[in-house]
């Protein structure tokens, strides 16, 4: 599956997109905790396949997961 990072998160991690090995019951929370030096999770939102989702949603092998820092549009 694909994992994406944006804006400050991307720069902090040094990458914007990676493929990630899928395993049964894998959640965004588990992936987040494996990132080196993650930002505080409460400031980050999760999107799965371009929709907001919870950190505890079970992931499918072909999902696109993204971690989103605080939005500042408009």
């Amino acid at each position: 599956m694909r994992v994406k990072l944006f804006a400050g998160l991307r720069e902090r991690a040094g990458w914007g997109e990676r493929t990630w090995p899928h395993s049964a019951g894998l959640t965004p929370h588990q992936i987040w905790s494996q990132l080196p030096d993650p930002a505080p999770a409460h400031s980050v939102r999760v999107a799965i396949n371009h929709s907001f989702a919870s950190f505890e949603t079970p992931l499918n092998p072909d999902d696109e997961l993204a971690f989103l820092p605080p939005i500042s549009g408009g």
């Binding site: 994406k4 944006f6 804006a7 400050g8 720069e11 400031s43 999107a47 371009h50 929709s51 993204a66 989103l68 820092p69 605080p70 939005i71 500042s72 549009g73 408009g74």
Partner: protein, 169 residues
């Protein structure tokens, strides 16, 4: 007159017959300079052929890049990153929800590199009454600020800083 800086969205070109209760949505992210009044001129022309003609109420909002950063320093540039596909999708969902009870909604939002004074966002809503037009415009703007994946980076003295959150209402 020629308004090259305001391209129409695919939705606007289609002009399918739609239910009278279905607001006409014209939403677009732009990488090039946004001329808001040019966009409004083109949009109003389209409104004229709505069933019932031009709606009685129109509310617009235009947002521009400030000349100073959040820290009060002279701003060189503002960068707008977005999550492609998700930003468009969220904007569409947001517009569908907030536009209920209105006749037409126009949104133009910049992405990419902007300069102080450049227009970031244009929101325009047409409705039969002032209340729905104003309320939809405000809800759309707040949604763009908090619910559509855009991120601003301020450039000051060659250093970029990501903006976390928005200026207060």
């Amino acid at each position: 007159m020629n308004w090259p800086s305001c391209r129409r969205s695919v939705e606007a070109e289609r002009r399918e017959p739609v239910e009278a209760t279905m607001p006409r949505l014209d939403l677009q992210l732009l990488t090039t300079t946004l001329d808001p009044l040019a966009c409004l001129v083109a949009w109003q022309r389209q409104l004229a052929d709505l069933p019932g003609g031009m709606p009685a109420a129109e509310a617009h909002f235009i947002g521009r890049v400030r000349g100073v950063s959040g820290q009060g320093l002279p701003l060189e540039a503002l960068e707008l990153e977005h999550y492609p596909a998700m930003a468009e999708r969220r904007l569409q969902e947001l517009a569908k929800v907030t536009a209920q009870g209105t006749a037409a909604v126009l949104v133009r939002h910049r992405i990419g590199q902007l300069r102080p004074g450049d227009v970031i966002v244009l929101v325009a809503v047409a409705a039969d009454r002032r209340g729905p037009a104003q309320r939809c415009g405000q809800a759309l703007l707040e949604g763009l600020k908090h619910e559509v994946p855009f991120w601003k980076r301020e450039w000051v003295n060659g250093v970029g800083t990501w903006v976390e959150g928005n200026t207060p209402l």
